[in-house]
C-alpha cells in the first residue's frame, strides 16, 4: 500500500516539478535538458517509473500505466508548444523580386564541352581515345600517310617545321600509323588534340587549333558504315532533325574519300568533316595486312563545331581567354 501511495505521489510530484521547470526554461538547450531528464530512453524519469510497474500489487497496475501515459502526453505537448517559438525565428517579410546572390563558379571551356560530347557519342559506339605528340616526325604526319616528300597534297607553305625531320603536326591523322603500330585490329579510337597550320590568324583561321580524328579497323568495315556513323554523330550532336550529305573528295591517306556537310538553317550547307576508307598503303605502313582488314577514318574540327553550335562568329574568341566570353558557357 505504501509503495502505491508513493508512486501516485511521485506522479503528482513529477508533474509539478516538470511544469515548474518548463515554465522557467527560456532556451532551446534548456528545453532539450528537460526532454532528456523526463523522456530519456535510459535514464529518463518516466522511463524509470514505468520500470517500477511490475513491482506494484496486481490490482493497481492497470490504472498506473494509463496515468503515466497521460502525463507523458501532457508533458510532450507542453514541451513542443514551448519549443516552437524558440526554434523557428520569425523572418521579416521578403521582397521576392530581390535578386539572389551571384555565386562565382569555375567553368568549362566550350571546346572541352564539344570534345567531351564528341567523345561521349563515339564512346557509345565502342571508341576509346588517346592523344599524341604535337611536335611530330614528318614520317608520321606525312610520309606514312601516303604523302612522300614533295607530294602535292602536303602544303609546305602551311606547315611549321622545327627542322627537316620535325614539324608541328598539321592534323591528328598523324596518330593513325602510330596507333596501328601498337594495336591490332579491331581498332576503334579517337585522337583529339592540338594541330598547327602556318596561317595568318583571322576569324576562321588560327596557327593552332584542335582536331578530332577517328579510326576504325576490322575485318567487316565498309563505306556505308562510315556514312551511317557520321550521320549518327551529326544528328546526335546537332539534333535529330539535322540534314546531312556527303560527296566524293580526295585525301592521300583515305580512299575512297568523302566530305560531309550539314544543313544549317540560315547558313545553308556547311562542311564539317572529311573522311574515307583507310588507304591500303597506310594500313601496310601501320603493319596491318590490307588483304585481311579494312578501316575507315574521319577528321573534324571541334573549333568549327563549337562556332556552329554556340553561334560564335570568330574562332579567335575560343583562344583569347576573355572571361566575359568564357563565363557564358
Amino acid at each position: 500500500m505504501l509503495e502505491l501511495v508513493l508512486m501516485v505521489l511521485d506522479l503528482n510530484e513529477i508533474e509539478r516539478l516538470a511544469l515548474k521547470e518548463l515554465s522557467q526554461a527560456k532556451t532551446g538547450a534548456a528545453l532539450e535538458k528537460i526532454r532528456i531528464k523526463y523522456f530519456g530512453r535510459r535514464r529518463g524519469i518516466l522511463q524509470n517509473v514505468t520500470k517500477q510497474i511490475p513491482k506494484l500489487p496486481k490490482e493497481q497496475k492497470a490504472g498506473i500505466g494509463t496515468k503515466i501515459n497521460k502525463l507523458r502526453t501532457k508533458l510532450e505537448q507542453l514541451l513542443n508548444q514551448q519549443a516552437k517559438p524558440v526554434s523557428i525565428k520569425k523572418e521579416s517579410s521578403v521582397d521576392l523580386t530581390t535578386p539572389g546572390k551571384e555565386i562565382d563558379l569555375g567553368g568549362t571551356h566550350p571546346l572541352t564541352s564539344v570534345i567531351d560530347e564528341v567523345k561521349e557519342i563515339f564512346h557509345s559506339l565502342g571508341f576509346s581515345w588517346i592523344d599524341g605528340p604535337e611536335v611530330e616526325l614528318d614520317a608520321y604526319n606525312f610520309q606514312k600517310l601516303n604523302m612522300p616528300q614533295n607530294h602535292p597534297a602536303r602544303d609546305v607553305q602551311q606547315t611549321y617545321y622545327i627542322n627537316d625531320e620535325l614539324l608541328l603536326r598539321t592534323h591528328t591523322s598523324s596518330m593513325q600509323v602510330r596507333y596501328m603500330e601498337d594495336h591490332k585490329p579491331p581498332i576503334r579510337v579517337l585522337f583529339p588534340g592540338r594541330c598547327y597550320r602556318r596561317d595568318m590568324p583571322d576569324s576562321t583561321h588560327l596557327p593552332s587549333f584542335y582536331q578530332i580524328e577517328g579510326l576504325l579497323i576490322d575485318d567487316a568495315s565498309k563505306m556505308s558504315d562510315l556514312i551511317g556513323t557520321l550521320d549518327y554523330f551529326a544528328k546526335s550532336f546537332f539534333g535529330k532533325n539535322l540534314k546531312t550529305r556527303v560527296y566524293g573528295h580526295h585525301f592521300a591517306y583515305t580512299e575512297p574519300s568523302i566530305e560531309m556537310e550539314v544543313y544549317y538553317p540560315g547558313k545553308g550547307w556547311l562542311e564539317i568533316l572529311g573522311a574515307g576508307m583507310v588507304n591500303p598503303i597506310v594500313l601496310k605502313n601501320g603493319r596491318i595486312d590490307p588483304n585481311k582488314f579494312r578501316g575507315w577514318a574521319f577528321g573534324m574540327g571541334p573549333d568549327r563545331l563549337a562556332l556552329l553550335k554556340y553561334g560564335i562568329s570568330d574562332i579567335r574568341s575560343l583562344y583569347n581567354s576573355d572571361l566575359r566570353f568564357l563565363k557564358q558557357f
Binding site: G106, E134, E165, R188, R245, P256, S321
Partner: protein, 670 residues
C-alpha cells in the same frame, strides 16, 4: 579552276540550271567553291584536288558533266594536217640531256605568224577564266592550256641563239623571266638554255630573252610533260606559282601533248596566219596503255552497297574507262582499261572511289559498324576530364591559350630563348616559340582580364615543350596542369591545390621551399610525393606581375599530369567514427621560425590513432611572436573516449610540442 559555263557548253549539252549543275558536280566529287554571274555568262570556280590534274581543264570538267548525266562529250577536232606546210630551212634543235626531266613532249616550228590582238571571243574567254589577254600567239597557248590542261610555251625562233638544251639547273644560275624579274635558281630546276644564256624557267615561266613581241614571225612551240617533282621543288624554292606550274607539278596526261600541239596550231593558223614549218616531233608518244583488274566483290565489300555489274561498267565507261567483264575462279572481275589522262588510277581501290562518287554516296544505306569491339582499351576513366572537373568545382575557369608565343613573352618570363623550342619558318612574331610553361598563356590571359575583373582564377591543361630529345626521337612535350589565382592569398591558393590533390585521391604530398628562386619568384615550393617532385606552387613576384599589368597578390601552380595520374590511388572507404568525437582547441606560440609542418607532424605522432582531424584556425603575430590556434578532434574506434584518456593524449601532445619549441599560450600566461 575558273570555268565559264558558255565554254563548258561547247563540249557537253547542259540543260540543268546553274544551281542544279553546281550541286550535281559537288555531289559527284567536283567541289564548287563559288558561282558568279558575269553578264550573260556564269563563272564556276572549282576546287580541284591534287590527284585530278585532268580536271584542271575545261574538257576535264565537261567530261565529268558528261559522266554524271550520261551524255556525249564532244571535243574539238585536232588539226588533221600534221606535215609541214611550207618549205623551210628552219630546224628544231632541242637536246634533252636528262630524259626523266621531260619524258614526253611535242615540238614544232610555226612560221609566217602575224602578231596582233586576239579576237574578242578568245580574249573574253581567257579573261573569264582569270587569264590576262596579251597577244594572239600567247593567248592561244594559254587558251589551249585552259581547254586541255596541257601547258605549252612559244619561243621566238629568231631570238634563240644556236642549240636549245634542256637540263637541270645548277645552284646560283640566273634567268630573267617574262615578268622582268631576274631569278637566282636553286639546283634541280628544269631550264632550257641556248648558246648564250638561259631562255626558259621550264614549267614555271618563259624567259624574257625569247619572249614573243609584236615583231615575232616564227615560233618554236614546245608542249612538254615535265618531271612533276622538279617543277614542284623549284616552285617552292622560288616562291613562284603559275597556271603552268600548278599543272606541271601534278602528274599530267603523258599523251595529251600531241593533241594540244595540234589544237594550238589549228588556232594559230586562222587567227595568226601561222604555217607549220617543220614536222611535229613527238617524243614518248603514244603512251603505254594500262589495265586494272577489279573484282566485283571488292566493290560491294568496300562500299557496303551492291551495285549491279552493268551499272559498274556503265559508270566506268562514262568516265572513259574501257571495261571488259571476266569470270574468274574468285568471282566476276572487270578488266578496266585506264585512259591516259587518269594518271591517278593504279589500284582497284582507285576505281572503287570512282564508282562510289558517281553512283552517289547519298544513295548509300546508313549503317553502323557491326565488327567486333576492341576489348583492350575500353572503359577507362577519363583522367583529364576528372582533373578539369575538380578544378572547375574549386571555382577555376578553364582556358585554352596559344601554344606558340613570341620571343618577347618568353623573355619576359625570364626564359633563355635558346632553351626554347622554336619553329624554323615563323610567319609572324607572335607565333614563333613553343611555350616552355603553361604560365605563358595563363599570364597573358590574366593580363587581358584584369581590366574587367578584379579577382579570378584560371587553369589550363596542355603540353609544354622542351628541347630535350626523348627515346622516340621527339622533343619531350609533357602535358601539364597549371593554374593562377589573381587577387588571392597564400592559404586560399594552397588550399585549392591541396583540395585538388585530395580529390584526385593523391595522398602523402608535401611542400618544400625551393632553395633557388623559382622562375616566378622566391616564395615558391616544390610539390613532393615522397622525394619525387610533381610540380611547383608559389607566389608570383611583383616584378613579373608588373609586366602583365597585375598588381594584386597572385599565386600559381604547375603540375605534371602524367605524374598525377601515376600517383592517384583507388578510392577506399574509411569507417566514420562510431563513437563521439572530442573536440578541443590548442593555442601555441612558435619559436625560432618553427615551420607548421613540424607542429603537425609532432601532433600526429603524439596522438597516433586517436587523432581524427587537425585544422589550423588562426595564424597570427602577437608582439613579434607567431601564434597559431589549432583545432583538434580525438576519437577512438573501440570505445567512447573518457576524460582521463583525453587528458593523457593532450598531455603527450603538449610535452612533445614543447620539445620542439612550441609553447602552449595558456601555460605561458600562467
Amino acid at each position: 579552276m575558273k570555268v565559264p559555263l558558255s565554254w563548258l557548253k561547247e563540249y557537253v549539252e547542259i540543260k540543268e540550271g546553274t544551281e542544279r549543275l553546281a550541286e550535281d558536280l559537288l555531289l559527284s566529287g567536283t567541289k564548287v567553291e563559288s558561282v558568279e554571274k558575269e553578264k550573260e555568262d556564269v563563272i564556276f570556280d572549282f576546287e580541284i584536288t591534287p590527284n585530278r590534274s585532268d580536271c584542271l581543264s575545261i574538257i576535264g570538267i565537261a567530261r565529268e558533266v558528261a559522266a554524271i548525266y550520261n551524255r556525249r562529250l564532244t571535243v574539238p577536232a585536232a588539226f588533221s594536217e600534221t606535215q609541214k606546210e611550207i618549205e623551210s630551212t628552219k630546224k628544231i634543235n632541242l637536246a634533252v640531256l636528262d630524259k626523266s626531266l621531260c619524258p614526253y613532249y611535242s615540238i614544232g616550228i610555226i612560221d609566217e605568224l602575224k602578231v596582233s590582238q586576239s579576237p574578242m571571243w578568245l580574249s573574253e574567254r581567257l579573261e573569264k577564266s582569270g587569264i590576262r589577254s596579251l597577244s594572239n600567239i600567247v593567248d592561244i597557248t594559254n587558251y589551249v592550256m585552259t581547254e586541255t590542261g596541257q601547258p605549252m610555251h612559244a619561243f621566238d625562233y629568231d631570238k634563240i641563239k644556236g642549240k636549245m638544251v634542256l637540263r637541270s639547273s645548277k645552284e646560283g644560275e640566273a634567268v630573267t623571266t617574262l615578268d622582268g624579274v631576274e631569278r637566282k635558281l636553286p639546283s634541280g630546276a628544269i631550264i632550257i638554255e641556248d648558246s648564250e644564256k638561259l631562255i626558259d624557267l621550264a614549267g614555271l615561266m618563259g624567259g624574257a630573252s625569247s619572249e614573243i613581241d609584236k615583231n615575232t614571225k616564227t615560233v618554236v612551240l614546245h608542249v612538254p610533260v615535265y618531271d612533276s617533282l622538279s617543277v614542284r621543288r623549284a616552285s617552292q624554292a622560288l616562291g613562284l606559282r603559275t597556271e603552268a606550274s600548278n599543272r606541271f607539278e601534278k602528274k599530267l596526261d603523258p599523251a595529251a601533248h600531241r593533241y594540244a600541239f595540234e589544237r594550238a596550231y589549228s588556232l594559230m593558223k586562222p587567227l595568226a596566219g601561222g604555217k607549220l614549218a617543220s614536222t611535229i616531233e613527238s617524243v614518248g608518244y603514244p603512251a603505254k596503255e594500262h589495265y586494272v583488274k577489279l573484282p566485283l566483290s571488292l566493290v560491294s565489300d568496300t562500299l557496303g552497297v551492291t551495285i549491279a555489274e552493268k551499272e559498274v561498267c556503265s559508270i566506268l565507261s562514262r568516265l572513259n574507262f574501257e571495261t571488259k567483264l571476266e569470270s574468274q575462279a574468285e568471282g566476276k572481275t572487270v578488266i578496266v582499261g585506264v585512259p591516259s589522262f587518269r594518271t591517278d588510277i593504279h589500284e582497284p581501290i582507285d576505281l572503287i572511289e570512282e564508282i562510289g562518287r558517281i553512283y552517289g554516296y547519298n544513295k548509300f544505306p546508313k549503317t553502323l559498324p557491326v565488327g567486333p569491339l576492341p576489348t583492350s582499351e575500353l572503359n577507362y576513366i577519363d583522367f583529364e576530364r576528372k582533373v578539369k572537373q575538380i578544378l572547375i568545382s574549386l571555382g577555376l575557369q578553364e582556358i585554352y591559350s596559344s601554344t606558340l608565343t613570341s620571343l618577347l613573352t618568353v623573355e619576359d618570363l625570364g626564359f633563355d630563348s635558346e632553351e626554347c623550342l622554336r619553329v624554323a619558318n615563323r610567319l609572324i612574331f607572335d607565333y614563333e616559340y613553343l611555350r616552355p610553361t603553361l604560365l605563358v598563356g595563363i599570364l597573358l590571359a590574366a593580363k587581358l582580364n584584369i581590366e574587367n575583373f578584379k579577382k579570378f582564377s584560371l587553369f589550363e591543361l596542355g603540353r609544354v615543350f622542351t628541347k630535350d630529345i626523348g627515346k622516340n626521337g621527339l622533343p619531350n612535350q609533357p602535358k601539364k596542369i597549371a593554374a593562377i589565382f589573381v587577387d588571392s592569398d597564400f592559404r586560399s591558393a594552397k588550399g585549392a591545390l591541396e583540395t585538388f590533390l585530395k580529390k584526385l585521391n593523391i595522398s602523402g604530398f608535401t611542400f618544400k621551399q625551393l632553395t633557388e628562386t623559382s622562375r616566378f619568384g622566391k616564395e615558391a615550393s616544390m610539390v613532393l610525393i615522397g622525394t619525387g617532385s610533381i610540380g611547383e606552387f608559389g607566389k608570383i613576384d611583383s616584378s613579373i606581375l608588373g609586366k602583365f599589368e597585375i598588381s594584386s597578390p597572385t599565386f600559381w601552380f604547375e603540375l605534371d599530369l602524367e605524374a598525377l595520374q601515376a600517383r592517384q590511388k583507388e578510392k577506399r572507404y574509411t569507417q566514420i567514427p562510431k563513437f563521439p568525437v572530442v573536440k578541443e582547441e590548442l593555442s601555441l606560440f612558435l619559436q625560432n621560425n618553427l615551420p607548421f609542418q613540424s607542429i603537425s607532424e609532432s601532433i600526429k605522432n603524439s596522438a597516433g590513432n586517436n587523432l581524427y582531424k587537425m585544422s589550423l584556425f588562426e595564424d597570427t603575430n602577437i608582439k613579434g611572436q607567431r601564434s597559431v590556434l589549432i583545432g583538434l578532434e580525438y576519437y577512438s574506434q573501440k570505445n567512447t573516449l573518457d576524460k582521463k584518456l583525453v587528458t593523457k593524449i593532450r598531455g603527450k601532445i603538449l610535452t612533445d610540442l614543447k620539445k620542439i619549441g612550441a609553447q602552449p599560450r595558456t601555460s605561458n600566461l600562467s
